[in-house]
Each structure stands twice: as C-alpha cells, then as structure tokens.
Amino acid sequence: MENAQAYLFYVFAALAVICAIMVVANPFSRSPVTSAMFLVLTMGCLAGLFTLLHAFFLAAVQILVYAGAVMVLFLFVIMLLDLKEEQRRQVKSLSLVAGLVSVGAILAIFVRSLIATKPGEGALANVEGSTSKLGKLLFTQYLLPFEIVSVLLLVAMVGVVLLSKKDLK
C-alpha cells in the first residue's frame, strides 16, 4: 500500500511538472488555448496529489471549481477574444536567459534551505480532510472569513459587470 502511494505520488508529481512546463513554454504552438489546456491537466494532477495527502474534499473542490469553472472561464474569454495566432515576436534571448537563471537560482536556494531544515522530520501524518470536519470548522471557527468572502464576491461581481458593460456614449 505504501509503495502504491509512493508510486502514485511520483506519477502525479512528474505529470504536474511536465504539464506546467508546457503551460509556460510549449514549443508546439504559441496559442494560449494550448497553455490553458495544459493548465487544466496540471490542476487535475494537483487534485491527485491532494487526494494522496488525504484532502478529499479539497481535491473535489479543485476539480469542480478551479479546473471546472475558473479554467472554463479562461477558455471562454480566449475564444471570445478570437485571437489570431500570436505572431512570433522575437523573445529577446537575453531576458529569457536572465529569467531562467534568476528563477533557477531562487529554486536552488529554496531546495537547499529545505534540505537543510528538514521540516518533515518526525511528523506523524494522520489528519483526514473529510467534508464534515471541514464543514464544522468552516461554520464555527472560520465564520468571519466566510462572511467576508461573500462581500468579496459582491465586489467581484460589481467589478465584472461594470468593466464589461459597453458604455453608451
């Protein structure tokens, strides 16, 4: 059982990283639709990783909301904008190399500090993210953020309607 979970972890992790690379730098086509599709796949792999971490409700929410609603919205907008194929503008190789180097450096620093710190030492992992437990927490201890998020959604709605309306001059 342990081996199966470890094997699944490596599969999901590798898939997630590969799909993320394709989102950022796909060599096949410069269209944002390709990036969007790979982002959906990445989110699916992340949902798999959430399941391995016993966060079952969150895995479902990730697929339903993030991959299912947010990315669909992205694709709607990409389709509505009806973009022509992005002309291959010369990506200045200097900025590309600089970007790669700096991001690689940040990543290296982080991984080194991770290895040095060993945060997971001796940690017993036995929390289950079941829906009922999350629900209880949400409506007792996290009631205030819950209400504030409703105000936030109102702001988002007002903003979207306002920005998208065509003003009659």
Binding site: L114, P119, Q141, L144, P145, I148, V155, L162
Partner: protein, 494 residues
C-alpha cells in the same frame, strides 16, 4: 451574536454600501450625475460618520476566534482614522467627471474600507489574506473606473498583474510560516518559531512575506506599479490608494513583523549584520527613500510626483517599523495618518486643477494663487506638511518617527545611519514640493490668459479641502491630541 456586536462598525459600512447601491439603482436613474453623486455621498458620508462614532465610543476588548477579530482601543483609533480618510475621499469624489456609475463607485470605496477595517483587526494569517484580497480587488476595480480614458484600464491591468504576483508571494510566505509553526495565529507562530533560530526556511519565509507586503506599500524595488496606477486611475481612486490602504497595510505589516516574526529580527545597526527581517527592511527603506525622492525631482506630472513622494514616505514609515517598539508603532501611525490627510488634500487639489485645465502638469498650476486663492492656500498647507515644516502635522510625524528609530534598540544608536539618510532625503524632498508651490504662487504664467481666469472650484470639494487643511494645522499645533489617543491604545493593546 458576539461576532455581530464586535464587528458592528464594519457591518454598518457594508449595509451603507448596499444602501448606496440600492438608492442609486432604484431611485435615481435618469437624474444628473452631480445630483446622484450628491445624494450618494450624503448617504455614504452619514454612514462613515456613524461608523466613526461607534468606533470612538466603544471600549471593548476582545479577541474573537483566536485572532480573527481583535478589538482594542488602538485598532479602534486606526479604524476611525481610516473611515475619516474614506469620508474625505467620498467628498472629493463628488466633483469627479469620470464616470456615471455613481452608486457602484461609492459602494466599492465603502467595501474597500470594510476590507481595510478587517485587515486592521486581523491577527490570523487567513484573515490577513482575505481582507487584503478584498481591499486589493476593490482597488483594482476602482482604478479601472474611468472608461472614457484607456489609461485607466491599462493602469488597472498593470496594478492587477503586479498585485496578483505579490499575493502569490505573500501566500507562499504565509504557508511556510504556517508549516513551520503549526498555527495561523500570529502569537502562536512566534511561539512556534521561537526555538528554531534563523533556519534557512525562515529566511525564505521572511523574504517572500516582505516581497508581498513591500509591493502593497510600494517600497522599492516593488514600486513599479505605483506611478502608472496613480497616473492612470481617476484622481479620487488614486487618492484612496495612496492614503487609506497605506494606513492599513503599514499597520498590518508592523503587526506581522513585530508579533509574528518576533524572534527573527536580526539587526541592521551600523556595521553589524545579523540576518533577520531588519536588514532586509533597512534595505527596502533606504532604497525607497533615495529612489523615491530623487525620481520625484524629475517629474512634471503632479500625480506621478505624488506617487514617487508616496514611495519616499513609505521609506520613512518602514524606518518606524524597524524601531520595533511601542514608540515606533505610535510614531508610525501618527506619521501615516497625517501623511494620509495631507496627500488626500493634495490629490483633491490636483483633481480640481485637472478638471479645470485638462491635465495635471506643474505648468497647469501656474498662477493658482490668483485664480483660486483658497485652493492654493490649502495646497500650501498640504505640501508643506508633506515636506515636514513645523508647525504642521508632517513635521511632528517625522519627529516622532526619527526619535523612535534613534531611541530603539536600547539607545545604542544603531539605526542612526538610516535616520541621517532620511533627514537628508527630506531636505531633498523640499525641492520638488517647493517647485510646485513656486509655480502656484510666484511664477507669472507664460500663458497669460490661462493665468488670470478665475478657476471654478466645486463647493463640496473646497469645503472638504479646507477641513483637511484645518485638521493638518491643528494636528501639527497640538500633536498630543492624536499621539495621546495612539499611545493610550498602545499600552493596553500590546
């Protein structure tokens, strides 16, 4: 029900925001914009006044849900100051000619204020993040409000992309904090981190959190969004971003650094270097002070000048955070509140001049003293306060901040080098403030016709600006008024 009682001021503001939306939508369709603005501003203003009375009148002490909502006298005073700034923003916005969507504009300003108030009361990572996002989202939309000018949409998009990146960095930092300490409450995080010393992962957490908040307060090198956002946004929105959100952001930054990272200060004293958040913040403060002031000298557009001045003032305020004691906190709050009042006034004047002449360059201000004497007198008060001239409030703000920084760390004068740099840069800032005042008062305009026409100043705006100038003068002549409130709250709160 405990929640409702303690969060009553914020609830009132939300209800007022909804009321403004409803009134504008149901009763005022088809009326001229100025009337809609007037009625909407009246409702909003009454709501703000009621909220302020509620905040200043109550003496509750509570800590709800382990850090989600912290109510004590200090937060009450800070919230009251934020609501006051909002009230003045609403008054100034009534003269705006950039939109017909009055109800939505005022409602968004009020909802952003609600976000700020919850941010001030937060001591839990989740509340901090959500309030910050509520505030930021409202500000992005407020920046894009001027649909007739494409610069507004472009400024909002730049602000949005930078802000999204900063939110991702902040989130990563907060997740590391949670992971290392096992809790999302700031006090418990400090306890959890106490035994560990400066391990590398903590350094990463400090850096990413500073990146996220450094963006929010426009510290160099995360300031690139500020000049464009201030220039493109409608002037009342720019004023709002520059004042209210700075108060809330600096307060919560100080809280996170002083409470959450309590064991990880390190030291930025002269010739010593102990790694922690202090050296990083010292770097941000020094860069902001120097770059903000020097770049402001070259600006001809007043909105961009005010943006770079905001960056520079942010540097002084970071200095106050580094004092890391109660005097520093009181000094920081005094500085940011008086800075907010003066900057709000300056933006109000810019709006009037912009509406009258069509642009906000310094040349438009030529001969202002003859064309609108009351307005230019207010401008004089605001700019001199920003420069730090006694007996205006800005001088005492700088005094309190510098003395707190010098007296920090047990009087070892470690931060003296930063204070000297700050004083030098303040002197530099006089140059560009006086340049504007020179155009308004001394220069005789090359364009004679423009320089002699009396400028039409909307009554509500003028009244608000006079009141603001009056406040700045009063707070400067009697600094103990505000300082007393802040210090009394401080002793009980911490």
């Amino acid at each position: 029900m405990e929640v409702l009682k303690l969060a009553a001021p914020e609830t009132v503001l939300v209800v007022i925001a909804l009321a403004v939306l409803a009134v504008d939508l149901l009763a005022l369709r088809g009326q001229p914009v100025s009337m809609r603005f007037g009625i909407g501003a009246a409702v909003a203003g009454l709501g703000c006044a009621a909220t302020m009375l509620m905040l200043l009148g109550r003496h509750a002490h509570a800590n709800l849900f382990d850090g989600m909502l912290v109510v004590d006298p200090l937060t009450n005073v800070v919230k009251a100051a934020i609501v006051l700034l909002t009230l003045f923003t609403v008054l100034i916005s009534t003269a705006g000619k950039f939109t017909e969507h009055v109800g939505e504009y005022l409602a968004l300003i009020l909802l952003a204020t609600v976000g700020m108030m919850f941010l001030v009361s937060a001591e839990d990572l989740l509340m901090i993040f959500i309030s910050l996002e509520l505030l930021s989202l409202s500000l992005y939309v407020l920046t894009a409000f001027n649909k007739r000018n494409i610069k507004s949409a472009e400024a909002a998009l730049k602000y949005f992309l930078f802000g999204g990146m900063a939110a991702a960095f902040t989130l990563f930092g907060l997740s590391l904090l949670y992971g290392m300490s096992g809790s999302t409450n700031l006090h418990r995080i400090a306890e959890g981190l106490a035994g560990k010393g400066m391990d590398p992962l903590l350094i990463v957490a400090v850096v990413t959190t500073l990146i996220g908040f450094g963006f929010k307060v426009a510290a160099v090198p995360f300031h690139l969004w500020a000049p464009d956002a201030y220039e493109g946004a409608p002037t009342p929105s720019a004023a709002f971003i520059a004042t209210g959100s700075k108060v809330a952001s600096f307060f919560i930054l100080a809280k996170i650094m002083m409470i959450g990272f309590a064991g990880a200060e390190g030291s930025a004293a002269w010739r010593t270097f102990i790694s922690g958040w202090m050296p990083a913040m010292a770097l941000l403060a020094a860069l902001s002070m120097v770059l903000g002031n020097l770049t402001a000298i070259a600006q001809t557009s007043l909105k961009r000048l005010l943006a770079y001045s905001a960056i520079a003032h942010g540097g002084y305020m970071l200095l106050a955070v580094m004092a890391n004691n109660e005097a520093g906190m009181a000094g920081l709050l005094y500085y940011v509140i008086t800075y907010g009042l003066a900057t709000l006034g300056a933006f109000g004047v810019v709006q009037v001049v912009e509406d009258a002449t069509g642009n906000d360059s310094i040349i438009s201000f030529t001969g202002l003293s003859r064309r609108a004497p009351a307005l230019s007198l207010c401008l004089l008060v605001f700019l001199l306060s920003l420069g730090g001239i006694p007996p205006l409030a800005g001088f005492f703000g700088k005094f309190f901040v510098f003395s707190a920084a010098v007296g920090a760390d047990g009087n070892h004068l470690g931060l003296l080098w930063l204070v000297i740099l700050a004083i030098a840069m303040s002197a530099v800032s006089f140059y560009y403030y006086l340049r504007v005042l020179k155009a308004a008062y001394v220069a005789d305009g090359a364009d004679v016709t423009q320089a002699t026409n009396m400028m039409a100043v909307p009554v509500a705006t003028l009244a608000a600006l006079v009141l603001l100038a009056f406040l700045v003068v009063i707070l400067g002549c009697a600094p103990a008024l505000l300082m007393g409130l802040l210090q009394a709250g401080d002793q009980v709160g911490h």
